[in-house]
């Protein structure tokens, strides 16, 4: 089986940070980068499904910082990596990124595309299914277990409240994968060294036959500004008798857990 796994190098913000001049991004001096936690699981799932005979290709839309993340995936056993970048992609949102990924996936023609459910920094939870939309691929979101492989997969979807739905889907398809679906393998030092010898292609939009307008047009919205949330406003205080407080607590809990 050939599996393409889009991955993302996510930003972790320092305790003390400043915004970049235009107020729409954090100053990169205050950012640290690491591979998105969900992608550890999607890469592992891909490696397991592809097996020794198959191929796993990892792809990312990101600048130089993202190379590290691709190398981690190559060290784990992915065969090939692709990084797409140019300046115009700096503010690409989930759907814009999905548009770029779609061009890569079309080029690769895999049996399966595995994405993480979400990234830990932007938390849009949209890139994977958006990608499926651009590709018109059958899709299932939030997989907690995958089995099968000869032309079709049985997938468990994790629903709210601890419920699970079991569905079947034919290949080719796209799945978004939830954390905890497997036990991600790690790369030993030898594999980490050898990862640098694996093919890692760097492309710009033209290299994929895309224009800046194609990508901008796919974008879902425009970021006007970032702000630090109002800190220390304190809690909304619940008053009344213990019984009243308890009732309110239960309401809030039920609210937040359901839906």
């Amino acid at each position: 089986m050939k599996v393409v796994v889009p991955v993302k190098q996510v930003a972790v913000v320092d305790e003390d940070f400043e915004l970049a001049d235009d107020g729409t991004a954090v100053d990169p001096d205050f950012l640290e980068w690491s591979l998105n936690e969900w992608d550890e699981f999607s890469v592992e799932a891909a490696l397991q499904l592809a097996g020794d005979d198959g191929e796993v290709v990892v792809v990312t839309v990101g600048d130089d910082e993202a190379t590290e993340g691709l190398l981690t995936c190559l060290a784990k056993g992915a065969g090939r990596g692709i990084r797409v970048w140019e300046q115009s992609l700096t503010s690409a949102d989930a759907l814009a990124v999905a548009r770029v990924l779609a061009a890569v996936v079309e080029r690769e023609s895999p049996d399966l595309v595995l994405c993480g459910v979400q990234s830990s920094d932007a938390v849009n939870s949209a890139t994977g299914i958006g990608l499926a939309g651009f590709l018109d691929l059958p899709h299932v979101a939030v997989a907690r277990a995958i089995s099968g492989g000869e032309g079709s997969l049985t997938v468990e979807r994790e629903l709210e409240g601890g419920l699970v739905e079991v569905v079947r889907i034919g290949l080719p398809a796209l799945l978004t994968v939830q954390t905890g679906i497997n036990e991600p393998r790690y790369a030993n030092l030898r594999a980490i060294k050898q990862a640098r010898e694996k093919p890692l292609e760097v492309l710009d939009l033209a290299g994929l036959g895309l224009s800046g307008d194609d990508v901008a047009g796919a974008s879902g919205g425009r970021l006007r500004k970032l702000a630090v949330p109002e800190a220390g406003e304190g809690a909304e205080m619940l008053t009344g008798s213990a019984a009243e407080v308890a009732t309110r607590i239960r309401e809030i809990v039920q609210d937040r857990l359901s839906a």
């Binding site: 305790e15 003390d16 036990e183 790690y186 030993n188 030092l189 030898r190 594999a191 980490i192």
Partner: protein
């Protein structure tokens, strides 16, 4: 990062007589095994805390005269000019870092056996020490009293010459001034005994004389056990305790308050097994709470949490946070709070290993959490500074994330090795600490003479600290749930391999006493267990349990506590004179025994197991094996000895050609995997290897400075040449 404003109060200066204490972090007098005869160790251990931000650091108890000699326990001494010179090394170093230097002037009376000086200690009445039972003091008449008070004065003058800022008249832990004050020691009928004022007279006069001698230049401190914990037979905080504080308040610039005595020192230096943080508050807290003093008060209670420290000062409990063990565990605690990184604080676990070495008499101090304690001078180890390794380009594989492995990986990470992989079979790092910290029962309610049975939960801090540090190190990866075979290790791609695979308990009763297995001992049977199985395993433990311990430290006794606490009928057997002998050194024995008795554990000392059969264990007395007994049991726990898990190491070592082929330059064996030992020593072992990973032969520890005088050495040339500026230390 900046200091959180809520900790500002800890950094406010406060006046102690003529001296200014720059913040509220005060290292109270405590032993380290250095004294005045290892001036390098003394100066650099105290100095590292000053560098770490402590506002004042004190000596240990400091003998004022050869009549106060605690050999083989190590005290400081200020008998002569040589001692002045040696202790000046300490005061110089403290002053260099802006800290005040304190000296705790000590006369022990009959508690100090004078085995080196062969002098005779004096005391208020001729009652032998309750700590050193055979030592009788010489009765002090009025001339003796003046002589001894003059010893304090002479010592104080020398102390001033040596550069000390704070001079103590030390009357805690039941040393001489307290012996006069307390009717438990003082049966005199003259003006130094009987009424409160009479009993207080010696101490008061001593303070007056010392103050007169050096009080203009030095802050006069007194360490006072406000409650002896013996009820009406001695000093009680609500009676003579606060009364004495008021009585001599004008003579004192700083009160240093404790409880208890030296005979059961564990009531003050309370181990975490039985005492919680700030445990002395009900006693020492009464002094300020009842407005009994106008002077600053410092107190202790194994306080490690900055939030607790703030609460102590804000609530008015003390003015100054006193610490001994928390300062040993983390000399940089104040700096870390100041720099806004309290998560980096290495918290004391209250194991009292540091104290145990002093109790044994002779060895230098150690610390489970801080492997550099006691090594600052003799090995040049700085707790926070790590030089880049000379072979930092190498990758390292550490197999096993127990105490040794975690520490080794952490220090290798801090030494900037290019890549360190710490691989562990379990789902979490921590190794044996993970199950050991679950040992012991913790009903938390019943008062065992002030303490409560709390279990070993605080020992989990060994893991907590390293977890945070390992996570911060970008060049260290931790991989869990991964068992490596020899082939995996060969394949790994590391140039340096460290095997830290721990140990296991003997399953056949092989033991330190008889050096042979025990007939019928077999922990593969479901009614026989090793200690770890008691915590981790699935075996059902029956109602009647026999625990055999031959190791002499806490394991067998703690298992007995745990099972008895769960309602089992427990028989605890040891071939030694006492169960858990080492726990006398860690000050845990008295509370342990109270707990074992409360739980009706049947303790058999000088007893060994002859054989084990289903339902019964045969015992004999080690002195006379005609004395036999048979105990009916449902289960047996064997805590006889441990054995290294070294098969992986042996397999790798057996094939040097394979190692060479795969580019593995060295394979090291550390911790319990090398030889089962105490956790403090496993942490040390991992630390040492990492510190010396770039030495010519890392497996062999480098020589350390021995602070000895060489025969034929006319002056001090050799000593001076030994003062070092080791690469990892900050140069003065």
């Amino acid at each position: 990062m900046a200091r959180d404003p809520k900790y500002d109060i800890l950094f406010e200066p406060i006046q102690l007589g003529p001296k200014t204490l720059k913040n509220r972090f005060y290292q109270v007098p405590h032993c380290i095994g250095a004294g005045s005869e290892k001036p390098g160790m003394q100066a650099y251990h105290r100095g590292i805390k000053a560098e770490g931000g402590w506002g004042a650091c004190c000596t240990e108890y400091c003998s004022i005269h050869p009549e106060s000699d605690d050999t083989s326990r190590v005290s400081a001494r200020i008998w002569d000019e040589g001692d002045v010179r040696n202790l000046k090394a300490m005061t110089d170093r403290l002053h260099h870092f802006g800290a005040l230097a304190g000296i705790e002037l000590w006369y022990g009376g009959p508690h100090a056996p004078c085995m080196e000086s062969r002098a005779t200690p004096r005391g208020p009445s001729q009652i032998p020490s309750d700590f050193e039972l055979n030592i009788h003091p010489r009765y002090m008449d009025k001339d003796d009293i003046n002589e001894v008070q003059q010893m304090y004065v002479d010592a104080a003058l020398r102390a001033r010459d040596a550069g000390f800022d704070i001079v103590y008249v030390y009357g805690a832990h039941a040393y001489l001034p307290f012996q006069f004050l307390s009717p438990f020691y003082n049966r005199r009928t003259d003006e130094y005994g009987g009424s409160f004022e009479n009993r207080a007279r010696f101490w008061k006069e001593s303070l007056e004389k010392v103050r007169e001698a050096v009080g203009d230049d030095c802050a006069i401190a007194s360490r006072f056990a406000v409650d002896h914990l013996l009820g009406a037979t001695s000093i009680q905080v609500g009676e003579d305790g606060v009364r004495f504080v008021e009585y001599v308040d004008d003579l004192v610039d700083l009160w240093d308050l404790t409880v208890g005595d030296i005979a059961e020192w564990g009531q003050n230096a309370g181990p975490s097994r039985f005492f919680e943080e700030n445990h002395e508050k009900p006693f020492t807290g009464q002094v300020k709470a009842g407005n009994h003093t106008n002077k600053p008060v410092v107190g202790v209670g194994r306080v490690t949490n900055p939030d607790t420290m703030v609460a102590i000062i804000q609530s008015g409990q003390f003015d100054i946070i006193g610490a001994a063990r928390p300062s040993i565990s983390d000399p940089f605690l104040p700096k870390k709070i100041e720099e806004g990184r309290p998560e980096d604080i290495r918290e004391c676990i209250g194991c009292n290993q540091c104290i145990s070495r002093w109790e044994i008499g002779g060895p230098p101090m150690v610390c489970t959490q801080n492997a550099t304690a006691g090594e600052e001078y003799r090995r040049g180890w700085h707790p926070e500074n790590y030089s880049k390794a000379g072979n930092a380009d190498k990758g390292v594989l550490v197999v096993g994330a127990g105490p040794a492995g975690m520490e080794c990986a952490m220090v290798l990470g801090k030494r900037q090795m290019s890549a360190v992989h710490l691989v562990e079979t379990d789902s979490d790092i921590g190794g044996c600490v993970n199950w050991i910290s679950k040992l012991g029962h913790s009903d938390g309610k019943e008062n065992l003479f002030r303490g409560t049975a709390r279990g070993l939960g605080e020992w989990a801090r060994i893991v907590n600290y390293r977890q945070v540090q390992l996570h911060k190190l970008k060049n260290v990866e931790v991989h869990l749930n991964s068992r490596l075979s020899a082939a995996d290790v060969l394949e790994y791609g590391a140039e340096i391999v460290v095997i830290a695979t721990g140990c296991h308990f003997a399953t056949d009763g092989l033991n330190a006493a008889t050096h042979a297995p025990i007939p019928g001992a077999d922990t593969s049977l479901d009614w026989q267990l090793t200690p770890d199985e008691v915590v981790l395993g699935d075996k059902q433990i029956g109602q009647r349990v026999l625990v055999l311990e031959n190791e002499g430290y806490y394991m067998g006794a703690t298992i007995a506590q745990k099972l008895a606490g769960e309602g089992k009928d427990v028989t605890l057997v040891t071939q030694a004179a006492d169960v858990a002998g080492y726990m006398h050194y860690t000050l845990e024995a008295p509370m342990l025994h109270r707990d074992l008795h409360r739980l009706n554990v049947d303790i058999r000392t000088y007893t060994m197991v002859d054989s084990i059969e289903p339902g019964a264990v045969s015992l004999y007395n080690v002195w006379d094996d005609r004395h036999k007994d048979k105990v009916e049991v449902d289960s047996v726990v064997l805590c006889t000895q441990r054995l290294s898990n070294d098969s992986l190491y042996r397999e790798l070592k057996a094939d040097p050609a394979a190692l060479e082929r795969e580019g593995i330059e060295a394979v090291y064996l550390i911790g319990d995997a090398q030889a089962p030992r105490m956790i403090v020593d496993s942490v040390f072992d991992g630390h040492r290897l990492a510190r010396e990973i770039d030495s010519p032969n890392p497996a062999m520890p480098l020589p350390f400075i021995r602070e000895r005088r060489l025969w034929g050495d006319t002056g001090n040339g050799d000593f001076e040449s030994q003062l070092l500026a080791p690469s990892d230390m900050v140069t003065a």
